[in-house]
């Protein structure tokens, strides 16, 4: 059996005001998974990420990374191997040049300066930012800032990368670019966790879906199963992805036959529709 890379058991966290932000959160994450985390505002996604990364320490529960139980002493191990790309780039960027900013993480890992330089160069070219090196962050556009924050994390070479609502405040062009970057990271066997309100994106991209509501994980599984479960959708205040709804109504109206493979994007759906067209023609000819 494959061991999970990250195992979380009964994790609980409450902020100072006594309200529980996370209740009995348990899950296993395996290497190379593509996970979308969804749930309404204040459902506990961000808190979950911060505890997973070790910034907030949970009052109860345990975190096991790579078979090693995390305690106060080795919490750095967690921060080193799990990187978070924060939602608001301005809350993440701290240095006054792009070079220093991307180098901040690797410098904190106490690597040799040459190694840091190599990693920074690599991360910058990965994010197509090499010409921005000496630029101060306050003269960058929103999309460029986002790319810098992703380069920040890539330079640290973590095993798991968490994106906290990366699509918010990105224009379509930058959103497309982000998806390309995600594909690239995926091909490198990185484990990716993305929180999002974009249901269509979650349906299209994710292999696994985790649904948060009121600090609890109320569903964890394949996106298609969860999006077909009306009860879960109602509890989490979610809607069905447009594509799924269209597909289901096509099936309902007998334009398409029910298939095990659901179309994940518009291209798949078009293919299904055109296949059906040729089949019909074929049938007519054989008649």
């Amino acid at each position: 059996m494959i061991e999970p890379i990250l195992r979380i058991r009964d994790m609980e966290y409450s902020y100072g005001n006594g309200e529980m932000a996370l209740k009995q959160v348990s899950l296993d994450i395996y290497k190379g998974e593509k996970i979308a985390v969804i749930g309404s505002n204040g459902a506990g996604k961000s808190t979950f990420f911060l505890t997973t990364n070790g910034v907030l320490s949970p009052q109860r529960g345990e975190i096991i990374y790579n078979g090693q139980e995390i305690n106060k002493k080795n919490i750095k191990e967690l921060r080193k191997n799990i990187g978070i790309v924060f939602q608001d780039a301005d809350n993440q960027i701290i240095a006054s040049t792009v070079l220093a900013e991307v180098g901040f993480g690797p410098m904190n890992l106490k690597l040799h300066k040459d190694e840091v330089m190599d990693r920074v160069d690599e991360a910058l070219s990965y994010m197509n930012l090499s010409s921005f090196k000496a630029r101060p962050p306050h003269y960058l556009s929103g999309g460029e800032k986002k790319r810098v924050t992703i380069a920040d994390i890539i330079a640290m070479k973590p095993e798991i990368i968490i994106f906290d609502e990366p699509l918010a405040s990105l224009d379509p062009y930058n959103a497309d670019m982000l998806e390309e970057i995600l594909e690239k990271l995926e091909s490198e066997q990185k484990t990716l966790l993305i929180s999002t309100h974009d249901i269509d994106f979650a349906y299209r991209w994710a292999e696994r879906l985790i649904v948060f509501a009121n600090g609890r994980i109320i569903a964890d599984g394949a996106p298609i199963e969860i999006f077909q479960n009306r009860e879960i959708l109602r509890q989490a205040n979610l809607k069905q992805p447009a594509l799924l709804e269209i597909y289901e109504s096509l099936v309902e109206n007998r334009i398409l036959e029910q298939d095990d493979i659901y179309p994940k994007n518009v291209r798949d759906l078009k293919k299904l529709l055109s296949n059906r067209g040729t089949e019909e023609k074929h049938e007519k000819q054989t008649d």
């Binding site: 910034v55 301005d90 809350n91 701290i94 101060p136 306050h138």
Partner: protein, 276 residues
Amino acid sequence: MKIVKDGIRGSNNMFGHTHDEHFSIDCFAYKSKMNHWNPTYKVFLALVTIIMCLVLNNLFVSLFVIMAMTYLIVVKSGLNMREYISVMSIPFTFLLLATLAVGFDFSRHPAGEINMDLGYFYLITSKRSLLEMFRLFIRSYAAVSALQMMTLTTSSSEIISVLKKMHVPVIVIEMMNMIYRYIFILLELNNKMKKSAHARLGYCDFRTACYSFGSIAGNILVVSLKKAETYYNAMEARCYDGEYSFLQENKKTEGVHIAGASVFVAFLLIIWFATK
């Protein structure tokens, strides 16, 4: 709106993001052709020049420094002459007002070489004190232009890193870094809030304007406290452990620059000897 007027913003697409209302001399340094020079070299050149100006206390040395610095900034660094004049006009006015007190004096009696009757008292001056005023003005203006040479060609983060090399306490260095980064975030926040207040007639008369100003100031304080926390979280998430260490690009000092500086200093000394 007057966004496209400034050369820096309008003509140059290099800086995609602009701050509408405030215009910072901050970005001159990033545009400067002298940006790739070694920052320590530039800081020391400025310091040595300032010290020479002050210690030698010679009119011709100062005049030469002013010329040399203007040459560096306009020709070597590539700053537009008009922009340079507009940047320098602030210290110019300031120094002029400050040195006026040296040149002129008030007295009950017409005791000076030149007296101006102002009813109860006289405004008096003399050739000597006017000359003294002129010398002082040129001397301090030369020192300021050397300092400007540094700030217009060296980015703040690099100046801070030079200070770090000079063993300025770490706490000061870290605060300088953070404040520098945060000035822009808070300025932008202020801008946005001001605009939204404008949009709701928040500045329609003096009273309302005062009220809006106060509310914005209060709000910025609250937001900055909140931001400080998320900021700290983000730093911790990247393994921050109490020491702020930044990566800096290595910019080598070129032999030509060292030679240039030596010749410059030697020339200042020669001028000083010749006109002593």
